[in-house]
Symmetry: D3
Subunit: 227 residues, 6 copies
């Protein structure tokens, strides 16, 4: 992990079918389906509400104020990928703007997850290129120091291996290990099916206290009602 100056060309991407099934579910559902792990920190926010993507990770390790490796990463993108960019130290500079977005989009990228800043927000939104970032900043970057592409990185507190599935929406960004993509999609589907019935009951006024049969456990834990 964290070797500098390396580009891995052949990575094992998660099964495309599983990725596309995962695209039907929100980040919260996928996070639960995965066993409540793999979530990036909540400071990662979409630059525009309403975006929702699922794709396979091309990972990049950057240095503060230096976006050189994003150009190296562009060549490794295949249709259906999501680029995941980590930085070796906290930085809010705008590493990514409309030119790189044009390039990434032309290569087939579905979006960008970056633990740093981005710029050209108006253009990115107009292009429909979804981005989740830590910051927005007009400050550009230089191209001077080697990082790596497709090594394992830590992005916003989550470990991401090249080829893992990224599911991102307004609730946040979750990472599904490639090997667990199919079973996570199954679990997400089951969970969602289960919620349809619950939602109808809640809408009809049934309480969670009864739906989940909590009254006994609460009483046992010592809950007291006072008039």
């Amino acid at each position: 992990m964290y070797q500098l100056g390396i580009v891995k060309r052949n990575i094992q991407r998660a099964d495309r079918g599983a990725v596309d099934r995962l695209a039907n579910f929100g980040a919260a559902t996928v996070h639960e389906a995965l066993g409540r792990v793999g979530l990036m920190k909540p400071y990662m926010r979409p630059i525009c509400t309403g975006a929702h993507v699922a794709g396979t990770a091309v990972t990049v390790l950057l240095h503060p104020g230096d976006n050189w490796m994003l150009h190296v990463a562009a060549e490794q993108i295949r249709a259906g990928d999501v680029v995941v960019a980590a930085v070796t130290a906290d930085c809010t500079d705008g590493f990514f703007g409309d030119l790189l977005a044009t390039s990434f989009q032309a290569r087939g990228a579905r979006g960008l997850i970056i633990d740093a800043g981005v710029r050209d927000i108006k253009d990115l939104v107009a292009m429909g290129f979804p981005v989740w970032s830590k910051a927005i900043s007009a400050k550009g970057t230089i191209k001077a120091t080697l990082g790596s592409v497709n090594i394992t990185v830590v992005c916003a507190g989550a470990v991401v291996n090249a080829g893992d599935v990224i599911v991102a929406d307004d609730d946040g960004v979750v990472v599904v290990p490639a090997a667990l993509a199919q079973q996570t999609a199954d679990a997400a589907a089951a969970r969602e099916a289960n919620e349809v019935a619950k939602r109808a009951k809640f809408a009809a006024g049934v309480l969670g206290l009864d739906l989940y049969d909590m009254r006994g456990t609460l009483a046992q834990a010592g809950l007291k009602y006072i008039d």
Copy 2:
């Protein structure tokens, strides 16, 4: 204050008429009308701009990562209430999503104020259920530890008693003690009436320096004009 494991069933809600009058005013106006106290910290933000609610508080004290008491609170909601959730320590987890929102809405809740995170943002917005929160996070919670319902809580720096009036909009969240609801509505109405005339004068180019007769005080304080 802060007794754990208690649910107060009978609370004294602020007068409904006063609450509905307060609904006509923004949080900034109500805050001024109340004597510039009772405001939650500005990190409390609506999940969607444009929301504006006034209602009576059903309070909940939660533990980090545990939303059990939100289900207990649901049963105490009456039409016109706003649920106010405090947590015993800082936490950004998503304590609340579309299922609980469906339940709260079915019980007549007008919104949620929570000093923590929420999730299922897209659904909440689509449902038109207004939420003010500290964070957005896909991370769910467990149901293991007792908190309390309708005790006095501190939410985002403001004391909230069950039955107090909550007024929230894009500017923030203000808490009006139930006993002061009527007089605060009166003061807000007076303030707003007063601002109509001022706004017209400002629009016509009159300066605050003249409208508020500040020139003498400024000179006395020592303000110097330099060419």
Copy 3:
């Protein structure tokens, strides 16, 4: 710098033609054109996405919780100005709302940049008065202590002299010294022209690696490709 109790009436505003030319470019482009300096910190955010202004700075130095000098500043505004407000210590109070916005707008101000909080967000957006701020807060301010108008201030980490050009959009706020306005507009135009061709190539699938001829430098720096 930072003399309290002073209002400079005659300031040297940047050339209007240059300001209007700069209005054609985003903050990121202007920041690059200026040599990558003069950017405010990225915590300065527009209260509403999509705003884009360029204007000449009327500067104000405020004290925490005290907006008295904003009224003094109003008188100094001329058509095409942008008010830039600094505070002597960190503060999130709402120093500015719809009444002052009405006054500023009537005086010809194009917007406000304030290193503090603002309120009446809904009204400000409805009025189309653009504001970049550090916070949103319903909490109002008092009028008790002298600051200054049109002295040099530090706002969100950037030095601003009265008369400098402010360019602000969704990416942030950049300050162009009045004497450099024309040449910065030239450089921005050149940069933008240059980007049109690049954007087309990126859209056609050309990689930055080739467009910027980076492969040699990367190899020289030691980049290794692994299969």
Copy 4:
């Protein structure tokens, strides 16, 4: 709560004997003894490690950048009090320095808890006057706006009534309601007695797994050991 412009002269201080018993215990022990409530947020830190005080609260509500009411509060101090200062909005200014500390100390105050900044750190430490604060700042304050003394305040997220017991050490600041002082001291003593035996066992190598008989519960919860 939060009435401005009021000084309550006669307050009901917690029993002195109970306060002095509580002085034997750390904030963590008292917090547990009280039922795990009443703790200020952990950003409140002592200006010097090793301080440990217990006393009865004289409360003050201040405005940002204005320390006028600290002088009003000084007159209300009796021997054994701890001053607790809240502010109506976040502020890091240095509200308190060596002169006020000299005055407070002369009046018999045991320390200061302030949800803002202080200055003259070197002098305060030399005087042996303990302070817990949110910040350290050389920036002084003005004396212009009324707050209140001995009303109920929210300080660093905790509700404090005049006369409540404050226990503060390197671990933080806890507030014990005056009426619960005696029983909390009892509970703290019991807890501490209990810990002596435990500490000896831990030191002898006994595991918490066995001391607290956790193995069964862990297995039941599904914990698996892998070789």
Copy 5:
């Protein structure tokens, strides 16, 4: 990674000799020797200045407000280990105090690295048990939810595998993969040897400009001297 409810008993610890050699170097030197990777975020601070430890990692994954797994981890500690505790979401609660420290110390632990809060600071310092943490808080935790022991975790932005070497001092915490311990110790020794000569030259007034032969490169980069 991140499987819940698992305890790995047999882990491959880094070579003891290499660990003890690494103990001779500071975190900054080890970080450079490792190729400038593996550093935890700088919010991780020692509870007491002057501490310096190197040891093999026993990892723990905790849930917010729940320290159950620290007791499970205690049993896995061998002499020379450092416990590294990650949490599934941001939390500042005090997960660890003097009792657990007594237990860990009795088991041979050299210290604790925890991405959360600790308490009983005075006792921990008196015991000489070194701790690096994100926060200090008197608030205790419950024992209700399973995490894991000796799985790979992300702690303060760094990936830690059970058995990796942890080197921590006043500058921060660095993680050396077990397989690289020996060669990192070699590189650190070489680096340190090299610095001795440099330090002497700097002390004699030689400039880095000359020592590192930078004048040419600076001139080539365009640096201009102005009188």
Copy 6:
């Protein structure tokens, strides 16, 4: 301001006598004497309590993660200088350690003020080289991009011109324009003399209410005493 790639060799340092007089006063006193302006933000903290320096500023503008210009600055240091380092974007990397400190000390520098991180804390403290910084981080920096030396910079929110006086202690860092050094020293001396008498009165139990004759103003402002 903010021209990149420039080193100003001949700067106008503040009068040495005035600097040495200012060294007798704390940052808080100097800040008041200067008219309550010129203070850096309170996040700037000494790496070791008890340090107190006054000196003339040699300024440096750095880029995130790049300390090249600190070596360029070293050559410009004369006995009695304090180096003030600003960065073009927020960064916590450790730009400065024991080698550079050895060099700076050999050149006669009295200390370093840096709006970023430093490392080798133990060595810096042992050397007695005082540093005020935003962060401590073991992460080193590269030497790749030109900044400037002795241009005007913004450091932690304060404008600093080369040659200005820096006064720093446990309370923070204040910047005195070179031209105001003498009169600020006079004002500080007067202020300090005035405080001696006040301190004695406070120690004797006189209240600020009486010493500053506040009772009338407070009553006029509407303060009410309640029994």
